[in-house]
């Protein structure tokens, strides 16, 4: 069955350090993988996506890496800031689906001053 999960439920980093949030998935039939950020009391906010035929994509201060061999996805945040504190979810879109998101269980990122 489809399953997207995260390795670590919590992550604490010092302000200014880089953060790496990991995600494992089990379904090979996914077109896209997406990272969402959810701040307390708000809806998920799109960060970055990556197509299944790519292995790396960069945005502003964020990089997503996809390793299809081991079914692993990671989000790297450079120079982590206090405003980055949130829960981060990876999600996938299955090929042939109505493009609904299947979310993982989330990692709480806390940025320490």
């Amino acid at each position: 069955g489809e399953s997207v999960g995260l390795h670590l439920p919590t992550l604490s980093v010092q302000e200014g350090d880089n953060s790496i949030i990991n995600c494992a998935y089990s379904n090979s039939a996914s077109d896209y993988f997406i990272w969402y950020k959810q701040e307390s009391g708000k809806g998920p906010q799109f960060i970055i996506d990556i197509r299944s035929n790519m292995d790396k994509r960069q945005g502003q201060r964020v990089t997503v890496l996809l390793n299809k061999t081991v079914k692993h996805l990671s989000l790297q945040i450079a120079a982590t800031q206090p405003g980055d504190s949130a829960v981060y979810f990876c999600a996938e879109i299955l090929s042939g689906s109505a493009r609904q998101l299947t979310f993982g269980s989330g990692t709480q990122l806390t940025v320490l001053p």
Binding site: I34, G43, A98, T102, F103
Partner: protein
């Protein structure tokens, strides 16, 4: 910047009552979704809607649930007879290209 809006922000209802959650998607978007998030858990897909019909639904979306796009702007989720386990945050999302879904702020539904 355009955004998805949802009303109400918090809805308290008694078990067995009907509730309607409302969403106004971003105006040029074509795909619409409802998700829910039970407190402390991951976001779960409920239903997708495209071209005025349901395109896919999850096992959660049983006969007690229905969706409607009554006019060109609103997108509603109705729960006919609420149960305690329906208590959750309900998020509406919309997109024009499906891979970047924009979520609303959510409606917190509390069933007592």
């Amino acid at each position: 910047e355009p955004e998805v809006t949802q009303t109400p922000s918090h809805q308290v209802t008694q078990m067995g009552q009907e509730v309607i959650l409302r969403c106004v998607p971003i105006s040029n978007h074509l795909y619409f979704y409802w998700y829910r998030q039970i407190l402390g858990q991951k976001v779960e897909f409920l239903v997708s809607f495209y071209n005025n019909e349901i395109s896919e639904k999850s096992e959660i979306f049983d006969d007690q649930f229905s969706v409607e796009r009554p006019d060109g702007s609103n997108f509603t989720l109705k729960i006919r007879s609420t149960k305690l386990e329906d208590s959750a945050m309900y998020f509406c999302a919309s997109t024009v290209k499906a891979y970047e879904q924009y979520f609303g702020p959510g409606t917190r539904l509390t069933v007592t």
